[in-house]
């Protein structure tokens, strides 16, 4: 059995231990196993394939450099996901600094048009096949503002609590609640729009 075959059969926890001792081939196996998940998280936040590729690779480099700080409190992939999330948030802060203050930006917290949208009571995703549902959610997420999308990804996909999101996004819990609220309202409206589009 070759060395690589042996590594492909090892548990993450053992590969991490070898990596912590400087075994780069063990780390390569970890990258091979979890690269899709780390890339997917970066893509869901950035909605840009090139940026997601760069940030996911940067996350793996940071992961390697900080392996000594990993004590197994969470799974390795959860730990790596946190690293890529932090890199994406840093990147989005840079975007925000570059972006001129606009009415849209101010609307992020105050709700903008979402404040006046009628409530959607009929479930716009009812009866959808899972693949189709995922596609529609993806399309709707792509249309949210960066801040709204970020808070949705962290809350719904990463299942982080308000205070944890606030810490990571470097804002108040009130801001998180507000962004999440308007993001959901906008999402509901987008899903209704997509349903209408598909039934026409």
């Amino acid at each position: 059995m070759s060395m690589n075959q042996a590594k492909s059969e090892m548990q993450d926890v053992d590969l991490v231990k070898l990596s912590q001792k400087g075994d780069l081939t063990a780390f390569e196996e970890l990258v091979g196993r979890h690269r899709d998940k780390i890339f997917a998280r970066a893509f869901s936040m950035m909605r840009n394939e090139e940026e997601a590729l760069d940030l996911s690779q940067e996350a793996w480099i940071k992961g390697w450099q900080r392996l000594a700080q990993f004590h197994g409190d969470s799974s390795f992939v959860t730990w790596m996901t946190r690293i890529v999330i932090n890199l994406c948030l840093d990147q989005l802060r840079k975007h925000k600094r570059q972006r001129a203050e606009s009415i849209e930006a101010m609307d992020e917290e105050s709700g903008g048009v979402e404040r006046h949208m009628p409530v959607v009571i009929t479930n716009p995703t009812e009866g959808l096949e899972r693949g189709e549902l995922r596609k529609r959610i993806d399309r709707a997420l792509a249309q949210l503002s960066e801040e709204h999308r970020m808070v949705m990804v962290l809350h719904e996909f990463e299942e982080l609590e308000y205070k944890e999101i606030a810490k990571r996004m470097d804002c108040s819990i009130g801001t998180v609640m507000s962004r999440l609220f308007y993001a959901r309202r906008r999402m509901a409206s987008l899903l209704v729009g997509l349903k209408r589009e598909n039934s026409e």
Partner: protein, 168 residues
């Protein structure tokens, strides 16, 4: 409906309220159709998203993706390697200078005997300031790929040739 109440309904659905507050909000939602409509919308959106993230794959081969990471790790490690201390360099020179002399004589001898000897230099990449390069060797085709990364200048220069052929 005030915004504070709207956010409270959301917090209730997300399980972020204390038991007492949750009881109070639940009662308000039951008693008011507008509030219950909002709660329904928020709940539906939340449940539609859970577990329904798109499955995405890295749009590159495992080897190519890893080669860029490995290259950067090696680069960072070389960069952070501790500088050689002066006393060591003094010791080192004692051996290095005579050894370098011998190596030079051997190299001159080789070139004199066989002027067509292949270049002794190893693979290298240098790019303009705006760019960085990543090298990947594809075992199957034996091809070396040098990826020139993120520079506006190079894109502009090739755009002259490729823009002509874009979507028509």
């Amino acid at each position: 409906m005030n915004n504070e109440l709207e956010l409270k309904i959301q917090s209730w659905l997300d399980g972020e309220l204390s038991a007492a507050e949750a009881k109070q909000v639940a009662a308000q939602v039951t008693a008011d159709t507008a509030l219950s409509g909002l709660a329904t919308e928020l709940r539906q959106t939340k449940s539609a998203l859970v577990g329904n993230e798109m499955d995405l794959k890295v749009p590159e081969t495992r080897e190519f993706y890893w080669s860029k990471i490995a290259r950067q790790i090696e680069h960072e490690e070389r960069k952070s390697a501790a500088p050689v201390s002066v006393p060591f360099m003094v010791q080192f020179r004692k051996f290095f200078i005579p050894l370098a002399g011998v190596a030079a004589v051997v190299a001159v001898g080789l070139l004199t005997l066989n002027p067509s000897v292949p270049s002794l230099s190893s693979d290298s990449n240098a790019s303009s300031g705006e760019m960085e390069t990543v090298t990947y060797r594809d075992q199957e085709s034996g091809m070396t790929v040098v990826w020139l990364k993120d520079r506006e200048e190079s894109q502009a220069s090739t755009a002259d040739d490729t823009s002509k052929v874009e979507t028509q």
